[in-house]
Each structure stands twice: as structure tokens, then as C-alpha cells.
């Protein structure tokens, strides 16, 4: 009965209730909508980096992070061809390729400088990284034939090289000797996961011969068939490789993508902060609505008290009204946000200009997220009840005689 009374009371002043509901719907729309946008942006950003640079995850020697940075050839994975083959056969893996990290000097004949090099299995990389060509600024990706090299766009500029120019690459081999090879610049690239001023990329076979590291790689880059299944796939691959008693560790895209671990909490912090500020305002609005309701219904409150309604029942009546405003507003907001998210997602997403250093337009497909949705619904409910708390308490504490004698 109290519930029915509270519900009916909501619609006594239709305009005021509708305005309160609109403010909640707007709040929910902003918090869940921005959450969905951030979630979609995060996914699309991650997907782009995964498909262009990092892969879903990488397998490397457990000592690589400790010593591989200074001496990359000292902590490599042996029997790499078999290892790549083994990983590629695991269900859920789209493809995998070996990558060897090394350093040396590169020369145009006129100028020389140090480089930070990546040697890749070109054919397998194409299968693994479907968007790696998006990072190409000029020329084309590495082909299947030997002798090609890609440089960071800034490195090529610094050396004064154009596509098709010859370059000389000098390295220190695994055993300490010097070796040299000639290659042709086939393309330049930019990307956030490497410094363009020192980046060099060449075919894996060429690099293994040059460095005298037969059948070894620094990492196996793994592509997943499905973005959402990456965590499970990582565990499956890890379990399979662990049974081989080999010194492998996995590094997921979350740590491989530069600034990703710092950026995501920042996004969440911004989103939650906006939500909190917004809902403080919404809570104030609801408090105002309920305070007006108490003022207008003083006489009725007096009547209810005269009929024997207790203070806490009067308080509960107004809190229930506040809660109902919150429920109706937040669920309507959730429904509207879901519909909008679905509409945007199925109509091409939100197009943003390309980030610095790339030519690719960013297409954000907003993505519903359970945690954001729960937060977006729970927060207005909470602020509705909190906003109604003071008016509800004031109504409970009204002197019934004063309330009854109210004109």
C-alpha cells in the first residue's frame, strides 16, 4: 500500500517528476554513454595496436626483460620455427610469427647512425597482423624476397634516404664478431610502439643469417581469432608451453601497448569523476523535488500522522518516492543509452581524426560494459535516495498539528 501510495504520489506533479526523470536520464546517458565510448575507444585502440604492432600477446624467454634490452641476442627462444608452428596450431590462435630484436648501425653511404632493429617472419606476420601495413608511411611492407628493409620515417629522413635507395647494415653477431649486409629501402613507417628515429625492420631469415642466430627469435607474436577470448587463449598457450618445461613467459597486449596501462585508469578516473559531479547535481535536483513535495503535502502528512502513521513510515514513504524516481530515471537512461549505443555501433561508429604519427582515421565503436552499466544505474539510485533523505526526514519530523493546520 505504501508502495502504491508512493508510486501514485510521483505523478501528482507530472511536469516536476518528468523534469527530475529527464535530469537522471541525462546523467545516466552521460555516464554510461561516455563509459561505452571510452570502452569502445579502448577496445578499438587495443585492436589496432594488436593488429598492427603487438599481436594479442607475445611469448618470450623469461630472462628477456632482464637482459634482452642490453643484449637482445643473449635471451632468445631456440627452435623458434617449431615453437611458432606449435603455437599456431592451438585453437583460437589466428597465426603467430617469430620476431628477433637486435641493434647495430645503418648507413646511407653518406650518413650513419645506430638503429633498434626488428626482424620478422614476413609471411607469417602478414597473417598475424592484419593492419600492420597501416603504419607504412611511404613505400610498401616487406615482401617475401630477401634484401628489403623498412626504416622509421624519421630515421630515413635523417639519413636522407628515399624508397629504393641502398642501405648498409652493420651488426655484432651472437658470438661477438661484426657482420655486414646490404639491403634496399622498401618502405618507411611510423607507430607508437617504436621510436621512428631509430627503427629498422628486416626479414627474419636475413637477420638470423646476419646475426648468426640460427632458428632463434626474441619473441613469438601471437594473433588471436577473437579479441574477447585473448585472456583465455593466453592461459591455454601458457599451459601448453609450460608442459614442455620451457622457459617461456607471456606478455599480454595490455603491457605491450605503450601507455596503455597508464591510460586506462586515467580514462576510468575521468569518467567516474564526471559521473560523480553530474550525480551530485542530479541528487540536488531530486532533493529539491522532494522538498517541494513535502512542502505541498504538509496537510496530507498531518492526516497520515493523525491516522496513526509512524514517523519512520512517513520517512519511508518519501524515500520510496525518491527511490522510484531513481529507478524509473536510471532504467530509462539505461534503455536509451543502450539503444543509442546499438544505433551508433551498427551505423559505422564515431569517426575521429587520425592520431599523431598515423594516417588511419580512428573509428570508435561504442561498447556496452557491464561494470559501467551497473555503476550508471546504481549511482542515480543512490543519489535519488540520498537526495530524498533530508526532505523525507523533515516530513517525518513535521508536527502533525502544524501539518494539519496548514492551509
Amino acid at each position: 500500500m505504501l508502495f502504491i501510495l508512493a508510486y501514485k504520489n510521483l505523478w501528482r506533479n507530472l511536469r516536476r517528476t518528468v523534469l527530475a526523470e529527464i535530469s537522471i536520464v541525462f546523467g545516466v546517458l552521460v555516464i554510461i554513454g561516455s563509459g561505452n565510448f571510452i570502452n569502445g575507444m579502448q577496445r578499438d585502440w587495443a585492436k589496432f595496436e594488436i593488429n598492427s604492432s603487438t599481436g594479442a600477446f607475445q611469448v618470450e624467454h623469461r630472462d628477456y626483460q632482464a637482459m634482452g634490452k642490453s643484449e637482445p641476442l643473449k635471451a632468445t627462444l631456440e627452435n623458434s620455427a617449431a615453437l611458432v608452428e606449435q603455437i599456431s596450431r592451438i585453437p583460437g590462435v589466428r597465426a603467430a610469427y617469430g620476431k628477433l630484436n637486435f641493434s647495430g648501425m645503418v648507413s646511407s653511404g653518406v650518413k650513419s647512425t645506430f638503429f633498434d632493429g626488428r626482424a620478422v617472419d614476413v609471411a607469417r606476420q602478414r597473417q598475424t597482423l592484419s593492419q600492420q601495413q597501416d603504419l607504412i608511411v611511404a613505400g610498401k611492407p616487406l615482401g617475401d624476397s630477401a634484401g628489403g628493409v623498412i626504416l622509421g620515417a624519421d630515421l630515413a629522413n635523417m639519413l636522407g634516404l628515399k624508397i629504393g635507395d641502398p642501405v648498409t647494415i652493420v651488426v655484432q653477431t651472437l658470438h661477438g664478431g661484426l657482420n655486414l649486409t646490404y639491403a634496399t629501402l622498401v618502405g618507411t613507417k611510423n607507430g607508437r610502439h617504436f621510436p621512428s628515429t631509430i627503427y629498422l625492420e628486416m626479414p627474419l631469415d636475413d637477420a638470423q643469417k646476419l646475426l648468426r642466430v640460427h632458428d632463434r627469435v626474441s619473441q613469438v607474436v601471437v594473433g588471436a581469432e577473437d579479441f574477447d577470448s585473448i585472456p583465455g587463449l593466453m592461459k591455454r598457450v601458457e599451459a601448453e608451453l609450460r608442459s614442455e618445461q620451457a622457459p617461456y613467459v607471456m606478455r599480454g597486449y595490455q603491457v605491450l601497448i605503450p601507455i596503455y596501462p597508464q591510460a586506462i585508469p586515467s580514462f576510468k578516473f575521468i569518467s567516474i569523476s564526471v559521473g560523480i559531479v553530474l550525480f551530485i547535481l542530479v541528487g540536488g535536483g531530486i532533493g529539491n523535488v522532494m522538498a517541494m513535495a513535502v512542502l505541498e503535502r504538509k496537510k496530507e502528512i498531518g492526516t497520515l500522522r493523525a491516522l496513526g502513521m509512524e514517523k519512520n513510515q512517513v520517512r519511508r514513504l518519501f524515500l520510496t518516492e525518491g527511490f522510484m524516481i531513481g529507478v524509473i530515471g536510471s532504467l530509462s537512461g539505461l534503455l536509451l543509452t543502450s539503444a543509442l549505443t546499438y544505433f551508433i555501433a551498427t551505423h559505422g561508429g564515431i569517426h575521429l581524426p587520425p592520431p599523431a604519427g598515423t594516417s588511419q582515421i580512428l573509428i570508435i565503436i561504442p561498447q556496452m560494459n557491464l561494470a559501467t552499466s551497473v555503476l550508471g544505474v546504481a549511482m542515480p539510485l543512490l543519489v535519488s535516495v540520498l537526495g530524498a533523505w533530508w526532505p523525507a526526514s523533515a516530513s517525518a519530523n513535521l508536527n502533525p498539528i502544524e501539518a494539519l493546520t496548514e492551509a
Binding site: 500500500m1 501528482r12 492526516t303 497520515l304 491516522l307 498539528i401 494539519l404
Partner: protein, 229 residues
């Protein structure tokens, strides 16, 4: 004994001024009496009703409802007394506009936590007594003034209270409807032996009462049975 006032005084503080709304009032009202409390505006009638209705507590003296002293009762206990022992009929009906006729009469029973089926039966029985069965599902705003006051009477009586207090129950009604309402209250008083006490300054309606208590300047100055008693 249904209600008793022993040397009751009530004062209010209005700024720097102390207003003596009631002075040394002593009164006993027995079960089944139909009492009119008469006096001019500001004489203390409403204050006396509020004290008898456990809506307020006296500044001095004692108020007893069914051998229970209202003085010193907690808010919870006062609400319980009002819920179970006292019915109110207000001058301007004070119906809950969002509830139907049935809902308004049902409300006191809900507060008493009476089971749903019993509530239904009692509400319809009461509506039949006041002649509003056909209007049970109507909104109160669709009713005439007289019908609204009948709803208020049904609401006051549905809990079988010890006493029904009414402040100017006919003031917002035309004279014919007012007569009908008083006749109804008189009939219910006789049929249900419910104690009725109504405050009025209208001498015309006093004739329905069996006892008339006059109050002037916060003091009871006359208490007599009428010819019909």
C-alpha cells in the same frame, strides 16, 4: 470510560507571548456518548480535540484514553493510540487525493496491518453503511462534498475506534448536506456505540448531540445533557 481530561492546561509560545489555549480543563466522556464541544473561534476547542486525539500532549494535567495516560507517551506510543483507538473527521475532509474511495478507507487498516481479505470485507461493509459502495473505485475528486465527508467518516470508523473526534465536520458543507452528515454520525453512534465528539461553533448542529460542552477562553464553562439524551 473512554476518555478523560484531568486539570489539563495547554500553553503555546508565540514569540515573547505565552498563549493559554486551555486552562484547568477537566472532562470525562463515556463510551457511546455523542458530545458537541461548542464555543467561539479561538476558545480552545481544537486544542482540546488535539489533546484528546493524542496529537499533542498537555502542558499540565493528564489526558487518559481508555485508561491509558497519554502524558509522557513516546511518539511511537502516541501513533499507536491514534491508529487503534481514535478516529478523526476533518472539516476539509483531508482525503488522500491519489487514492480511490476504497484506498482512503482502507489506509487506516493498512497501518494496523490487517490482512488484505479482511481489509476488503471491512472497507466494503463500512462503505455500505455510509452509502458509498457504488463509488468505491472512484477518485475522491469525483465526489461531492457530502460524499467526501462520508468517505472521511468511513475512514474514521473502519478501525472500530474508541472515540471519533471531529473538528467542524459540517463547516464546508451546505446546510442540507450538513444535516445528512450529522444524521449519519448520529445513526452510527447509536448503531455502533462509538463515542463521537465534535467541535463546532454552529448552534444549529448542536441539537444532534446528547451532551454539549461549552468552552470559553480555554475554560469549560458549561457541560450539560440535551433534551434528546
Amino acid at each position: 470510560m473512554s476518555i478523560k481530561l484531568k486539570s489539563v492546561g495547554k500553553t503555546y509560545q508565540l514569540g515573547q507571548t505565552t498563549v493559554h489555549a486551555l486552562r484547568d480543563a477537566t472532562l470525562e466522556i463515556a463510551q457511546g456518548e455523542f458530545v458537541a464541544l461548542v464555543g467561539p473561534s479561538g476558545s480552545g476547542k481544537s486544542t482540546m480535540l488535539q489533546l484528546m486525539g493524542a496529537l499533542d500532549q498537555p502542558s499540565s494535567g493528564e489526558v487518559w484514553v481508555d485508561d491509558q495516560p497519554v502524558n509522557q507517551m513516546s511518539d511511537h506510543e502516541l501513533a499507536k493510540i491514534r491508529r487503534n483507538r481514535i478516529g478523526f473527521i476533518f472539516q476539509s475532509f483531508n482525503l488522500i487525493p491519489v487514492l480511490s474511495v476504497f484506498g482512503n478507507v482502507e489506509l487506516p487498516l493498512v497501518l494496523q496491518r490487517v490482512p488484505r481479505q479482511e481489509r476488503h470485507d471491512r472497507v466494503y461493509a463500512m462503505l455500505e453503511r455510509v452509502g458509498l459502495t457504488e463509488r468505491a473505485l472512484h477518485k475522491t475528486e469525483e465526489l461531492s462534498g457530502g460524499q467526501r465527508q462520508r468517505v472521511a467518516i468511513a475512514r474514521a470508523l473502519v478501525t472500530n475506534p474508541t472515540i471519533v473526534l471531529s473538528d467542524e465536520p459540517t463547516a464546508n458543507l451546505d446546510s442540507k448536506t450538513g444535516e445528512e452528515i450529522l444524521a449519519l454520525m448520529q445513526r452510527l453512534n447509536e448503531e455502533q456505540h462509538v463515542t463521537l465528539l465534535f467541535a463546532t461553533h454552529d448552534a444549529k448542529i448542536v441539537k444532534h448531540a446528547k451532551r454539549v460542552v461549552s468552552i470559553l477562553d480555554g475554560r469549560i464553562n458549561n457541560d450539560q445533557l440535551t433534551a434528546g439524551a
